[in-house]
Subunit: 690 residues, 2 copies
Amino acid sequence: MQNPRNPTEEIEPDLDHDLDAAARRMGRLSLHLAPPPGRGGGGGGDGAAAVLGMERCARGGKGGVSVERSAMSEYMRGKHTEIQERVFEYFNSRPDLQTPLEISKSEHRELCMRQLLGLVREAGIRPFRYAFEDPWKYFAVAEAVGSIDMSLGIKMGVQYRAMINHNSNVIADSIRKLIVQSLGRFFHGKFATVFAKLLLPTHDEKGFADMGVHAFIVPIRDMKTHQTLPGIEIHDCGYKVGLNGVDNGALKFSSVRVPRENLLNRFGDVSRDGKYTSSLPTIGKRFAATLGELVGGRVGLAYSSVGVLKISVTIAVRYSLLRQQFGPPKQPEISILDYQSQQHKLMPMLASTYAFHFATSYLVEIYSEMKKSHDEEVAGDVHSLSAGLKAYITSYTAKSLSVCREACGGHGYAAVNRFGSLRNDHDIFQTFEGDNTVLLQQVVGDLLKQYKKKFEGGTLSVTWNYLRESMGTYLSQPNPVTARWEGEDHLRDPSFQLDAFRYRTSRLLHSVVLRLRKHSKNLGAFGAWNRCLNHLLTLAESHIESVILAKFIEAVQSCPDKNTRDALKLVCDLYALDRIWNDIGTYRNVDYVAPNKAKAIHKLTDYLCYQVRSVARELVDAFELPDHVTRAPIGLQSFNSSRLSMLSASFLPGKAYALETLNLFGEVSSSYSNPAIENVKQSVIRISES
Amino acid sequence: MQNPRNPTEEIEPDLDHDLDAAARRMGRLSLHLAPPPGRGGGGGGDGAAAVLGMERCARGGKGGVSVERSAMSEYMRGKHTEIQERVFEYFNSRPDLQTPLEISKSEHRELCMRQLLGLVREAGIRPFRYAFEDPWKYFAVAEAVGSIDMSLGIKMGVQYRAMINHNSNVIADSIRKLIVQSLGRFFHGKFATVFAKLLLPTHDEKGFADMGVHAFIVPIRDMKTHQTLPGIEIHDCGYKVGLNGVDNGALKFSSVRVPRENLLNRFGDVSRDGKYTSSLPTIGKRFAATLGELVGGRVGLAYSSVGVLKISVTIAVRYSLLRQQFGPPKQPEISILDYQSQQHKLMPMLASTYAFHFATSYLVEIYSEMKKSHDEEVAGDVHSLSAGLKAYITSYTAKSLSVCREACGGHGYAAVNRFGSLRNDHDIFQTFEGDNTVLLQQVVGDLLKQYKKKFEGGTLSVTWNYLRESMGTYLSQPNPVTARWEGEDHLRDPSFQLDAFRYRTSRLLHSVVLRLRKHSKNLGAFGAWNRCLNHLLTLAESHIESVILAKFIEAVQSCPDKNTRDALKLVCDLYALDRIWNDIGTYRNVDYVAPNKAKAIHKLTDYLCYQVRSVARELVDAFELPDHVTRAPIGLQSFNSSRLSMLSASFLPGKAYALETLNLFGEVSSSYSNPAIENVKQSVIRISES
C-alpha cells in the first residue's frame, strides 16, 4: 500500500488565493480523504490489463429503418465519450478494484475508498476540477463511475458534488471547504458540513439574535488518531438495502465550538467584530438559497439514473434476443423478444431510455449555462426541471429494473447478471436529494406560480412557455373532427403528439386551479392542497412528460444523419404513443380522442414495438457500454461460449454460476429453480432390473 | 451439536406398509436430510426464550366504521392460528436461529438447514404429515416459516411440498420417495428427482421404445462421504439476488443407472419383466399429468406471497402513522398517512391484501377438496386458478414491496426494516413454478377451451361459470342509463362492481376470439396467438380480478359480526373501485361508464382511501403478526423508545442503526442520506472568534 498522496494536487492552482484563514483551513481540510491510521489508501497500480478488442458491427435493421451504430452513438454521446472510456479502461485494468458479487459491508466500504483514491490518483480523473470547468464532463464521469459500482458513484458525489453546489461562490471568494457526508463508523472523512442556526450575541433580554440556518464546517475526528472529537457522537446507519460501500451515519453534537471562519459564507457572513452581513434580507430567503444549492445533486441523480437504465435495458434486450423458447409446431424455437409480451415489456422502456437521455442532456446543458451566467430565469428552470426529471426518471428506472429482472427469468435472478445490485443501489435515488413525491410538488408549485403570473400579464419561463398556446386550445372544446383522425401519418406527426401531451397538462392545470380555489374556502390552503394532491402529482408528471417529448422531438429533428434520424423518429413515436395509450382514459373522458382513434393508437403502439424490436440490438449497442462494464454474462455484446470462457478469466465475478451453467446446458431454462425439468432435454436414463 | 435423529419419525406409522422395495428405498431416502459429514445438523435446544407480552388493543375507528381487532383476526385466520403461533414462538425462543441482516451465502445455507431441522425435530412441526392430512395446515406453516426467513420457507417447500405433489398416489401405493431440489455445491440432500425420457428395450431395428418423460429418484451423493457419485456433476448456481439460504444448483448426468424401482410410478410403471403399463394412453397425456402435479407449488407460492404482502404493508402503514411531516401553518405536523398521496400508495394495497387473503384461502380450500375427491372438474379449476392467482398476486406483491420501501423513505432503505430482503427473496416468486407470463397464458388457454365448450352446449366449470350470464349482457350494448348512474349506493353495490369486472372479462374474451380467428388465417395458430398476446394477458388478469372480487364479496357477506362485516365491505369497495378506475379507459371506450360516472368513481375511490386510512392501524393489527416476526423497528405495533430498547435486547438484528438512530433523534428524516440537514432541528452551534 502506498502512502496517500495529498489530494489537493487535484485542485486547480489558478483557483488558489492567499487569504490566511482560507489557507489554514485548506491545509487541514485537504486531508479529509486521508485514510484513518491503520487503513489502506490507494491500491497498487499495475493490475493486469485485460483489454478486449470488441467488434463494433453496425447491422442493418428491418422494418423500414436501420441503425448505423457508430453514427447513432456519435450523436448520442458527443464530446464526453473519451472521459467515460478512460474511467472504464482504468477499472478494466484493475481487477483488484472490481467489486465482488458477495462482499461484506466493511470490506465494501474499504474497497470503495480504494476505488475512489485510485480513480483520482492513478487514473488522473479530476472530478473536482471538472465540476467547475465543465459540469457536463463531471456528470459524464459520475455516470461512468456509477456503472462500475454505484456506491463509488455516490461516494464520489458526496465528496465532490456537494462541495460544488454548496460552495461554488464561496470558492470564488477563495475560501475552500470540503464536505463530508460519509459519516459511518468506519467513515473516511474528518469534517462534516453542518446546517445549524446561527445565533449572534446581543445585549437585549433574549441574549441572542437568530439569523437562520447556515452551513458550517465542523471537524469531527482527530486528524492523527481518527478518534471522534469531544462533543461529537457518530452513529453508523448500518447495513442498507444497497450502496453498502457508502458509509452513511448520523451525527450528534453537544456543545461543539467552531471558529468563525468555519461559517460557509456565501449567503451570510460574520465580521471579526460580530457584525452580520448578507445580500439576502430574510431568514426564509437565506434558507431557500441554501437548500436551492441542492439542485446539482438532482441533476446528477437524473443523469446517472439514465445510465443505470441503459445498463439494465441493454442486458435485458440482449438476453431476450439470445434466449429462445417455443415456436410454431415443428419449427425452430423463436427468440423471446419476438413475443409480443416481451416487446411490450422492453421496447417502450428502450424508447424511454432514449427519451430520458436527451432530456437529461438538455438539463445538464441548462445547468451548465446557469453556472456560467447566474441568470435567474434559467436558475428557476433548472430548479424545477431538475426536481421533475429526477423524480420522474428515478421512479421509472426503479420500476424498470424489476421488469428487466423478471423479463430475464431465472437468469435475471443470478447476482452475476446485475439486476439485483443495480436495483438495490438505485432504489434510494427515489428518496435522497428530495423525496420524489415532495419534488413533484415543487414542480407543480412552480407551475402554479407561473400560471398566476400569466394571468397577471407576466411572461412564462422557458420550460413552461408551451402552455401559452395550449391553454388557449384547452379553453375551447376538443375538435370533434381531429378527435376521430386515425391515420398513421397523423398519429406519428410530432405536432399531434406534442399537442396531446400539452393539452393534457393544460387541462389538468386548469381543473386543479378551480379545485384548489373551491376547497381552500373550507379547508384552507394546506387542506386544499392535500385534498388535490394526487391531481397535483399527475399534473407534475404530465408536465415532465411534455418536456421530455419536446426535447426528444428536437433531438430527432436536429440529427444530421438521415438513417439515424429515421431510427430516432421511430423510437420517439413509440415513446409518445405508448404514453398516450397509458393515459387513454383521460383523453377519452374529455373526448380529445374518439374510440376509433384510441383503438388506432393502441394498434400502432404494438406495431411500433415490433418495429423497434427489429433494431433493438443496434439501439442498445449504441449506448457503447463495453462488456467489462455491463458485466452480466447474459448481456454480452457477442454471446458465445468460447467468448464467455475468455472473458471469465479476466474480469467476470461469480463466474461459477453463470459460465458453468450456461456452458453446461447451452442456454438453460428461465425457471432455473427447476433444473431437473430442463434435464429432460439432455438426459436419458435407462432402466435396469433392480 | 446433537447427532441428527432419524427424520422418518415424522412420518405417520399408519401410512407404512411392508412392500420390500419400498422399505429398502425408504431406509435410504429417509436419510436425505442427514447433514453431510463435518457439517452441523440441529442446533442446541436451550435458546433463551424472549416471550413478549404483546398488548392487543382493539381501537375504535373513525369514518363510519370501526374494527374490533380480535373479531377481525378471528374471522381472517380461523383454525390455523395455533400452528402459526407455534412456529413463531419457536423461532422467538431461539435467537441463535434468527437470520442476521448480513450473512454470507455459505453461512446462510448452513443456518437455513439448522432452522429446518430445528423446526421439525425440536418444534415438532410436521410439514410432511400436514401435507397429507390437511394441506391448509401445511400452507399455514409454509407462510409462517416464510415470514421468519423466506429461504427457509422455500427450502422446506422443495423438501416436502414437491414430494406431496409428485407422489401422493405413489405413496398411496405405499412407495415413498423423497425429492431433493437443493442441488448446490454445499447442498444437504442425497437424492434428486430427475425428469427424463423412459426408453424401453425392444427387438425392432430402433432398439428401444420411447415412453415419454417420467420421474426417477437418482442418488447423487455417497451416503457416508457426501461425495458426488460417478457420472454426476453438480454445479452451484452461485450467489443470487435473494434466497441465498437455498442451495440451488444444476445437475449433469453421464451414463447414470438406477434400479427399476426408482421410477416414480404414479403415471406409468414397468414390471419386473420389462412390460410398461399406464392408465394414460399417450406420451403427451403422461407429460401433462406429470407437470400438472406442480399445481401444489403454485398454491403455496400464491398463499405465501400474500403473507409477504401482509408483512410489508404492516410495516409501511405503521411507519406512515408514526412518521410526521409538515402540516398547516403553526399547527403540529401531521402523520404522513394523512397525505392523500400516501393513502393512494398504501390503502388500495391494504385492500388488495385483504382481497388476496380471501382468494388464496378459497384456493387452498378447493385444492384440499381436490386432494380428497380427485374430482376432475375441481382439478381443472385448481389448475387454472392456481396458475392465475400465483401470477397475479406475486406480480402485485413484487411491485408493492418497492412501493412500500419508497413510501418509508430513508428508513425503508435500512436493511433492518425488511423491505430489501423481502423484495429480494420474493422477487423470484414471479418466475419459479412457472413464469407469470406463461401461467397467465395457461389461464386464458383454459378460458378459451371453456368458451368453445359453451358454444358447443357444454357446461362451464365453477370458476368460469359467471361468464354464462355476462356473455349475454355483453352481446347487447351497454345500458346508456346505468352508464350514467353515479350515486354512492350504486357504486358500492356489489352487483354493479361484479358486473363491471365480468363485463370487461366477457368483452375481452369475445373480442380476442374474433381477433384470433381473423389472424389465424394468415399467421397460423401460433402466429395469431402471438399477435394477440397482450390482449390475451389482459383478459387473463381481468378474469383473475373478477374471481378475486367475487370471493371477497362472498367473504364480506358471510361474515357473522356486523362491525367486522361493515369494515370488510369498506375495504372491498375500495378494492373494486380502485381496479375499475385503474382501467377506466377500457370502460370509457365502450361507454360502459359515462364521463360523469368515471369522475364519480375517481372521487369515491379517493374518499374510500381516506376512510380506510381511519382504520388502517386496526386492519394491519388484525393480521396478528407479532413484533418479533415483522421485526422492522419502524413497524412495531406499539412504538416507543423504551419498548424499542427492551425489544432490542432480545431479538432485533442490526439494532445499531435503527435503535440508536431512532432514539438519538427521535424520528429522523426520511432522507437519511442528509442527516446533516436534520441536525438543524437539534443542533445550535455558537460562533466564537477564531
